[in-house]
Every structure is written in structure tokens, then in C-alpha cells.
Amino acid sequence: MLTLTIDGRQIEVKEGSTVLQAAREHEIYIPTLCDDPRLEPYGGCRLCLVQIEGVPRPVTACTTPVSEGMKVETTNEYIEGLRRTVVELILSDHPNDCMVCEKAGDCTLQELAYFYGLRENRFRGERRQYAKRDANPFIERDMEKCILCGKCVRVCEEVQGVSAIEIAYRGFNAKVCPPFEKDLDCEFCGQCVSVCPTGALMGKLSLGKGRQKDIKKVDTVCPYCGCGCNLTLHVARNEVIRVSSSPETLNEGWLCVKGRFGFKFISSPERLNTPLIRKNGRFEEVSWQEALDHVAERLGGIRDRYGPDAIAGLSSARCTNEENYLFQKFFRAAVGTNNVDHCARY
């Protein structure tokens, strides 16, 4: 453990922590746009600049390791002036169309503009404008809103291991894009969408489906596989319009394409709500009791006539461990066959 002073408060932190981690552990607020504790430090947005006694220039808290006896000042007129300039510069190259932006209400940039009371902008000038729309099926990429925090690029490389996107071009024209600016063609895990601090990356399925304030959040577990990732369903007007996952969950907020974007079946008119039995060539709705009786009768019949090995059971990765245990037990003990398998095996 090391002892250092932040804003006059003496605190103890683990060796190897950064100043930002130290401050957060002790609930000292330092604004950031490009930091995500789950990703490598970047030092790009320059909002977490702090002053350290004996160091001539301000340094970024996210990249500076703590040292014994360090004296840090996280806020003063000078630092806030620099941060304000940074936010003002970002806004000078931003569409500022919060009225129609999907992200309004959940946008870190909007927060900062509010915090610094930025209505006027001293730096009004050229703004990046891109006409082309990315035609991929899942992710709306509005690069005019991108602040180049690099989080999407880092998550795609560091967490997903895909590197589907990278920063291209230089200077003011720098831009996050897939190779050769083609349409995004990747795993569509949506990790990038989940870390984007602005409205630059949004799920296409949720566009125009509801404002942040109208959303009811329901925590649940993903039904797709046995991993059991935690999901938060965003419900508007009794319809699931988006899925997110909190970084504090077991899955650290990361999901796959199915968990993140595969939710449209919930409100599909084709979805089965009751068991069906084919009677006279047509499916008819029946009760669970009738359906289970029907299955038991047929399975029993087959076993009696052809022996238990005429029956095989195939289970799904969408079942939990417990369900799969019961399934094989049922086949081995109740049906009496070892013909039991699981989709994840092939």
C-alpha cells in the first residue's frame, strides 16, 4: 500500500494503481470520456488532467501511476479551465442535435456540456460531415458524433479480439472505420456500442423506439446459452427495445450478438405461447397437461414396442446445467437409454 494526498485528503491505495483509480476508490470525482476501467488506459480525451506537486505540466490521471507521498490536485481554476476548453473544442466539432439524438439523457458529452454550462462556443468552425450510412444490420454508426475516444477500437481489440475497426486518417479528419471504409462486417457483439460515450454508436433495432426517460429497466438472465450472462432489458411501451448489461455483472457487461441484439422474438407474432398438437393434419392449441400426457404416452409406447434404445434425447445449450442434468437423468433412469447428447458437442 502507498500513501498519497489527493485534494488535501490523505489516502491509501494499492501499489500500481493509477491516480484515477485511487481517486475513484475514494469517491473523488474526475471527469473522463475515454476511460473504461475494463480497458487499457488511453489518455486521449485529456479531461482527467490533474496537477502533481513537483511535476511542471498537468498530467492525465488515467495514465499516471501513484507513488509514495505524491500530492495531487484534481480541481482548481486552471485545470477546470483546461477541461472546459477540451469540452468546448469537442462541441465545436459536434452536431449538437441532442433534441433528436437517441443518446440524449445517457450521453457523457451532454453531461459535461451541462456541467460546464457551455451554451456559447468560442471555437465555432468547420465540422466533420459524412454522408454515407453504414448499411450493416445492427449498428448505427454516426461518425459525426464520434469524439475519437477510441473505446470502441480498444474493446474490439482487447476484449473481443476482433479488431474490426481502427482509427484512419490524420488530424481533424481522423475517423474510426472498418478497413477501407466498407460497411461494418464483424461479429456484431455490440461491445463497441456499449462503451461509446456518445450517440455515435447505437443499436439500429432501437432507433426511434423511445427516449431514455421513458425506459423501464428489467434485469434478467440471457436465455440463449448456459453461460447465463446478465441482461438489462430496456422496455418502452411494453416492448423490449434494447438490451444492455452492467459492468458490475459476472459477464462484466460483455455480451454476444444474440444476447445483445437477438431480442426481437419476444414481441414476434409468430412466437409460440402455448403447446400445439397436430390433430387431423392441423396444429391445435392444447393445455400443458394434455401436451405432457401426449408425449409421455407416445414415448412409453415406443419404448414398449421397440425397446428403450429406440429413443434418443438431444438437449440444448440454452438449458442451464441443472436442466441438462435432469434431462440426462430422465433419459437414463426413466427411459432407460444412454442415447443422450447435447448440441454443444457438435
Partner: protein
């Protein structure tokens, strides 16, 4: 001249080749082969290509050495060769009218050549020619009779500081890397040279690549590295080619590779071509680029000496820094330290350009007065106009105004004056240069070369450029000067790497010394130097105009009206401010301003 030894050295740097050096060499070879001549001179006459000796404006430069006595010719074209051969080589009579003039001597008189001492003398494509002049002696000495610690000590006490811009003590850097734990360490030579108009490092590699290689091997031995890279921009094809050849020759001679000079020490060098991004000269971006990533800087610490290429301790040194090493080891730390000042030791190579009579590559002792560079070496201002300022340090540097011409050129003095030594760009400006326009020029460069990683640099330099553009376009607003100043200070303080941190320097230093010029642009919509087109008006002074009609005839926009022999008039709405009339009028009747 039958029994004399005759050496002909033709400048074949990039400048020499552009001026026709290749053709001049072949002309010499052809003439010397010619009947009657070859028999007379054959055995003891040879023609060599040599690298740049600095005075590129006079290329092709040719040295003729007869028994060691040197005559230098300037502006040599292939068709002049036959006369030189006939009169000088065969009869011993130099062709006086083509021999360099007095200014060639004054150009060199105040220079002190260490790094460049063999440039223009040795054949860069022949290792033997370098070795004849003592090349690789230093390496042998280090490998056979010194420990790494002793070598580091020599470099430390020589006072050598990095020539790549930051001026960090080289010996100290090596020591950090030596002390860093681990067996795998790297040494990288930074030959990215991205400053516009800079050609110091290129000339060193083109003129004497072995000095860099020798310096690298000594450095690698000192820090304990076994692998090295030269990161060089692909736009330097000649330098790359000569370097490649030099590496091969050094390997063949056992001076590079396994068991160097028969000792236990092994070290080899790879060339890595850069794609010509200014930011890739920044050390962490350079490392990312070698690793195959996008060249973007990262925050330090960790410093490369702790965690560099592939996560291993790494030293990055500039070309000129490394090229100094063999000479320091050969001649001793004390010899090197005699040049320069208390804290800035040795010499520095500068690319002297701009409105100066003798432009070219120069090497001077640090601490030399700027005045001596401009007036003695440079020969003063072109067209005998008035000196206005000297820009040093390229896009990261600043302007030294004419009033400060006595300033010593060293790290501390230039920093105090708001500029830097930098990598060695030196642009001389006269009264016809507009300082706002100069600042704009450099900002155009830095904002286009910003890597885009951090906000203050990516957007801040763009906004600085926009403000400068509107000021020079005559659309400057009240408050713009203050805005420039405050944004410059913020970009400088808040940017991640050296590019953004120094990008506002050209603005801040011109604001410091030439604020009145900014004010004239913004408040009076006037460009005192007469450079910014939108702020210019050409008017005809009736009292001087004779009505000769010359101006009306040259005006491409037909903006000038008037009867013959009566005063003419410029219609301002039509005038495109090209200045053709101003240049043409014989009676000084046209006023620019």
C-alpha cells in the same frame, strides 16, 4: 601530371544528383578513358562519389585533388568536364573562372565539422574509404579495451545531448537502459526526420552511413542490446539504399552481426521504412509503428527505456546523435566538450534556408551567435533587404526577432527566447515575410500531421489554423488575438505528446515579438509585409504616373484604366492583387499596401 596522384570527388548527395552529379561523374569517366588521356593518368587517377558538403546551392561541386592539393569547382555541368580534364588534370592549370569564390571559404570558415567531417570526403558506398580515415577504430577500441560502463562514462562526460529535439543527455539515456532489468533490449535510430525543410539526418546517412552504424554498435554494446532498427522514411530512397549497402559491407567486414570484430558481442540492425508521418518521429509512436500498429503516441511513463519496443527496454536516438559517437570515442570526451557552451556541448548541424544568400547544410559549435550564422556563414540577406527574424526548430519552434540576433544558439538561450534548437531547421526571414502568415504555414503542417488521438491537438490546432486563416484573409475579429493566445496556451498544456505540446509555439512566439503585426491585420485590415493578398491594395500615385500604359497592358484582369499620357487608375473591385503592375511600373508610381 604524369606522376601525381589525382583524386576527383563529385558531390552525389540528393542535391548533387538533382543538379546532374551522375552525368558529371560519367563525363569524367569518359574523358579520362579517352585516347591519349587514359595512358597519361590511368594508374594514379580515380573518380569518387561523395556525400553532401553543405553548399547545395552551388552543386554540382567537384573537388580535384592533385597530390593532396585541393581545388573546388562549383556549378559544374557535364559539358564543362572536358576542359577541366584538359587544362587542370593534364596540364596542372586550374580553370579559375569555375573555381569556387570567396564566399565558399567564408561559408565554411566559422563552421566546426564533427559529424560532417567525413561527409563530402568519404565515398558513402565504400566502407574502405571510411576506414581509411579512421572509421570503426572507435568501435574496435570500445569492444576490445573498454567496458560498457566506461563507454557510457565517456559519452556522459562529453556532455552530448540528443539532437532529435528534446536535448536529453545521451549517456544518461544509455545508462537507464543498461540498468533496466532483462536480457532483451533494443536500440532504435530515429531517421524519420519529419520537419518540413529539414535534411540534416538525410545528408548524414547519404554522406557517411557508416558513422551512424558505428555509433549504433557502440551504443548497443553500452546498453546491452543485440537488435537494432533504423526507422527511416521511405521518401529517402537514396539514404535507404546507401544504408542498406553500408549494413551489408559492415556485416561482411565482421563489424556487424555475430561476434563483432571477433569479440563475444553480437548485434544486428534492421531497416524499417516509415510511411512519412511526422508524428512517427515521436518515440512512442515510432515504436507502435515498428510493431505494426497505427503510429500514435502514448503517455509516458513508462518511458521506452523501461518499456519500449515489444515491451522491452529500448533506447531511441537521433541520427546525428549517433553519428557523433565514433568521433567522441576516437578523440575523447574532452575534445568534444571543447566545442559549445557550459550546458550545450559539441556542434549542431542546421539546415539554413530562407532569405539567405548562402543556404545549405551547416555544422556549428553550439553557442555560436545567431549573427555569425546569418551574416558570416549565410552571407547575409538575399537582395540586401533587412533581416526580420530567424525561425528555428521547425513546426515545434519559434521566431527569434532581428533585435536578438546576438543570441547564442544553444538549448537554454533559444528556449528562453521562446524557441528551440529542435532538430535543426533554421529559416531566415526578411521584411517581406509576414509573421502571421508564417505562423499559419506551420499550423497548416501540424494540424494535418496530428495523429488525432487527443482533443486539444486534433481540434485545437484546427481552430488555431482557422483563426489564423481568417486573420490573414482580412476577416479577423476583435478578440481573435486574445483567443489565439489563450487557445495556444491550452493546447500546449493539455496535449498528449510533443507534437501538440509544441504546435502552438510558432503562434506564441510571433505573438510575443510581432503582436503589432497581428493587430494591423485584425484592426486595420492591413498586412505590413505586403504578403496577405486579401489585405493588399495597389493604388496608382497620380503625381508619378506618366501614363505609359505599361501597367494596363500587363494586368491580367483588365483592372487598369486610363488614357495614354494621363494618370491611370486601378479599379479595386476587379483587381486580383497579383502585383503584375507593381513589378512592371518603371516610375514607382504604384503603391502597395
Amino acid at each position: 601530371m604524369e606522376n601525381s596522384t589525382i583524386l576527383i570527388k563529385v558531390c552525389m548527395g540528393t542535391g548533387g544528383i538533382a543538379a546532374g552529379g551522375t552525368e558529371v561523374i560519367s563525363a569524367f569517366e569518359k574523358e579520362l578513358q579517352a585516347e591519349g588521356i587514359s595512358a597519361a593518368v590511368e594508374k594514379h587517377c580515380s573518380v569518387h562519389k561523395v556525400g553532401c558538403r553543405g553548399f547545395c546551392a552551388r552543386d554540382v561541386l567537384v573537388d580535384v585533388l592533385i597530390d593532396g592539393e585541393k581545388t573546388t569547382y562549383e556549378y559544374i555541368k557535364p559539358d564543362m568536364v572536358s576542359r577541366i580534364v584538359k587544362e587542370h588534370i593534364l596540364q596542372g592549370e586550374a580553370v579559375q573562372e569555375w573555381v569556387v569564390k570567396d564566399d565558399y571559404r567564408t561559408f565554411h570558415e566559422k563552421q566546426r565539422k564533427v559529424v560532417l567531417s567525413d561527409c563530402g570526403e568519404v565515398d558513402p558506398e565504400d566502407i574502405g574509404s571510411y576506414m581509411e580515415r579512421g572509421g570503426y577504430d572507435a568501435l574496435r577500441k570500445v569492444l576490445t579495451s573498454m567496458t560498457p560502463e566506461e563507454t557510457i562514462e565517456v559519452i556522459k562526460s562529453s556532455g552530448l545531448r540528443g539532437r532529435g529535439g528534446a536535448g536529453f543527455p545521451t549517456g544518461l539515456k544509455w545508462e537507464f537502459a543498461r540498468r533496466a532489468p532483462g536480457d532483451t533490449k533494443y536500440l532504435i535510430c530515429n531517421a524519420d526526420e519529419g520537419d518540413p525543410g529539414a535534411f540534416m539526418d538525410r545528408s548524414i546517412i547519404e554522406g557517411n552511413p557508416h558513422s551512424v552504424i558505428e555509433g549504433m554498435v557502440i551504443g548497443a554494446f553500452s546498453m546491452g542490446a543485440h537488435r537494432g532498427y533504423v526507422y527511416i522514411r521511405a521518401e529517402y530512397p537514396l539514404a535507404v539504399e546507401r544504408l542498406r549497402l553500408a549494413l551489408e559491407q559492415a556485416r561482411k567486414k565482421g563489424l556487424l552481426g555475430e561476434h563483432i570484430a571477433g569479440t563475444e558481442f553480437s548485434f544486428d540492425i534492421k531497416i524499417k521504412l516509415g510511411a512519412g508521418a511526422f508524428v512517427c518521429g515521436e518515440e512512442t509512436a515510432l515504436i507502435a509503428s515498428i510493431e505494426g500498429k497505427r503510429g500514435m503516441p502514448r503517455a509516458k511513463p513508462p518511458f521506452p527505456a523501461q518499456k519500449g519496443l515489444w515491451g522491452k527496454p529500448t533506447v531511441i536516438n537521433n541520427v546525428e546523435t549517433l553519428a557523433n559517437i565514433p568521433y567522441i570515442v576516437r578523440n575523447g570526451a574532452g575534445w568534444f566538450a571543447q566545442f559549445g557552451t557550459e550546458r550545450s556541448k559539441g556542434t549542431k548541424v542546421f539546415a539554413l534556408t530562407g532569405k539567405i544568400k548562402n543556404s545549405g547544410l551547416i555544422e556549428v559549435p553550439l553557442g555560436i551567435r545567431l549573427h555569425e550564422i546569418v551574416h558570416d556563414i549565410g552571407g547575409g540577406i538575399e537582395g540586401d533587404r533587412k533581416l526580420k527574424a530567424v525561425q528555428t526548430g521547425g513546426p515545434s519552434g519559434g521566431c527569434i526577432p532581428a533585435e536578438m540576433i546576438e543570441i547564442p544558439v544553444d538549448y537554454e538561450s533559444l528556449a528562453e527566447a521562446g524557441s528551440i534548437v529542435g532538430s535543426g531547421g533554421m529559416v531566415v526571414m526578411d521584411e517581406t515575410d509576414c509573421m502571421v502568415n508564417i505562423a499559419k504555414y506551420f499550423l497548416e503542417f501540424t494540424q494535418a500531421e496530428s495523429c488525432g488521438k487527443c482533443v486539444p491537438c486534433r481540434i485545437g490546432t484546427k481552430r488555431l489554423l482557422e483563426i489564423l486563416t481568417r486573420i490573414t484573409d482580412g476577416r479577423g475579429r476583435p478578440g481573435d488575438i486574445e483567443l489565439l493566445e489563450s487557445l495556444s496556451n491550452d493546447v500546449r498544456a493539455a496535449s498528449l505528446c510533443g507534437l501538440g505540446q509544441t504546435a502552438p509555439n510558432p503562434v506564441l512566439s510571433t505573438l510575443r515579438y510581432f503582436k503589432a503585426e497581428y493587430e494591423a491585420h485584425v484592426h486595420e485590415k492591413r498586412c505590413p509585409a505586403g504578403v496577405c493578398k486579401n489585405l493588399l491594395t495597389y493604388t496608382i500615385l497620380e503625381e508619378f504616373c506618366t501614363g505609359c500604359t505599361m501597367c494596363a497592358r500587363v494586368c491580367p484582369a483588365n483592372a487598369i484604366v486610363g488614357e495614354r499620357k494621363t494618370p491611370h487608375r486601378i479599379i479595386q473591385d476587379i483587381c486580383i492583387k497579383c502585383g503584375a503592375c507593381f513589378e512592371t511600373c518603371k516610375f514607382k508610381a504604384i503603391k502597395k499596401g
